[in-house]
Structures are given as C-alpha cells and as structure tokens.
C-alpha cells in the first residue's frame, strides 16, 4: 500500500511540471494593435543536457512567416523552462503585432 502511494506520488510529481521564467523582454508597443501574432518553439532534454540552441531560430522564422510583408512590432519574448522530474522543456514564446504597410 505504501509502495503504491509512493509510486503514485512520484508519478504525479513527474507530470506536474515546475515552470521557471528565465528571461522576458519587450520592444516598443505600436499604436495599431489589431493583428496579434504569436508562436513558440521548444527543446526537450534529459537532466538539463542540451547540445544546441537552434530552437530559438525556429521561433523567429515561424513569427516571420505569419507577417511576411508587414512590420512585426511590439515583440514580447519569453524564455522559460519547465521541469518534469528528470526531463526539461526549454521554450521560447514570442508574441507581436503585425501591421501591414
């Protein structure tokens, strides 16, 4: 019974996910804010070992694709890490406003 309790607690702990905010930044917010766009990209790793940060470039490319002929302004960038016991998810979430010229 105790073993099942411990096992269930560990399983619940591994699924819960602790989030840490690493960095956040924002550029100047435009007056026109009708068209909001957002994207994110992430990278999973085991016990915090990563070999590349290329997932950041993926987020930028996805953001550009959503506003291919306009100005992307008011860019809000959030870099966070979510831990699930031994597995971690690094994530960059970017939102902005697309204004066609």
């Amino acid at each position: 019974m105790l073993n099942k309790t411990i096992l269930f607690s560990l399983l619940a702990l591994s699924l819960s996910g602790c989030v840490g905010l690493n960095t956040v930044s924002m550029t100047q917010v435009p007056a026109e804010r009708e068209n909001k766009i957002s994207t994110s990209s992430s990278s999973w790793n085991f016990i915090g070992i990563n070999f590349s940060n290329k997932f950041v470039d993926v987020a930028i490319d996805k953001l550009k694709d959503q506003c291919s002929s306009g100005k992307i302004e008011g860019v809000y960038t959030k870099h966070q890490t979510t831990g699930y016991l031994l597995v971690f998810k690094r994530e960059v979430i970017v939102s902005a406003y697309c204004n066609e010229v």
């Binding site: 930044s25 550029t27 070992i49 990563n50 930028i60 902005a96």
Partner: protein, 141 residues
C-alpha cells in the same frame, strides 16, 4: 574505489562534451515591408572558467582527507566570491562583447538593419565554457 568511480563519472560527463546553455533571448521588431531580407549572424565569444568547480573536482579526487578538506574550503571561498546574478561562467576579459555593434554594422553594407535577435548562450565542457554573445539580424536590400 568510490573516488575512482566519481572521477570516471566526472570525466565521462566531460567527454559528453559541449553542453549548450541558453541564458537570454531578446527579439526586436522585424520590418518585412521594405524589401528582401538577407540574414546575417555576428558572434563573439570568450573563455569562461569556473574555478570553484575545478577546485571541487580536485577535492573529490584528492587522496588524503586533509588535502580534500583544504580544497573544499578553497572551493567554497571561490564560490562565494563569485556569488551573485550573472549568466554563465566568469570570464577574464569583460570587454569581449563591446565590438558587437561594430560587427553588426559591418555585416550590413546597406546600413538598413531589422529583426535583431540577441542571444546570450554558453557551451560548457566541465568547468570550462565558451561564453557566447550572438546577434542574428536581417539586412534590408
């Protein structure tokens, strides 16, 4: 035996080699309305060194208990001397990122730059690291 196992474990972690860390990301406005964008990347880096971790490794592999204790004390002093908000390992040249702006302007002959992304990252190999400042951007042609 335990010390040998610890040393081998530590060395094998070193050999995994080249662990990437992402410290900071900042994305600026991107103007795609004025012409074709040509991407560019400017990167500067400096050797980072975690002296406290190095001395701690020495303490773990030391053969005598008194040497190990002395090294642990030194590791503690080094660690608290470098305590505080920072990104990555300490470097011995704190001017390495000052040329970044010059390099960014050089990378774009038209001088019309947009979509600057500032990335502060590091590649760790044990107590030694490459501390990197990378700027990605686009030239408007």
């Amino acid at each position: 035996m335990l010390i040998k196992m610890k040393s081998m474990f530590g060395l094998s972690l070193l050999l995994i080699g080249g662990c990437s860390q992402l410290h900071h990301v900042h994305v600026s406005d991107i103007d795609q309305s004025r012409g074709k964008l040509t991407p560019f990347t400017v990167q500067v880096n400096e050797l980072g060194f975690d002296a406290a971790q190095t001395v701690q490794i020495g303490a773990d592999v030391a053969k005598s208990a008194s040497t190990s204790e002395d090294l642990e004390f030194i590791a503690f002093i080094l660690a608290i001397s470098n305590f505080g908000p920072k990104t990555g390992n300490p470097v011995y040249n704190d001017n390495y990122a000052e040329q970044v702006l010059v390099e960014v302007v050089k990378a774009c002959p038209s001088r019309k730059i947009t979509g600057l992304t500032s990335i502060r990252e590091a590649t760790n190999i044990g107590p030694v690291s490459g501390e990197v400042v990378r700027i990605n951007g686009y030239c408007i042609n």
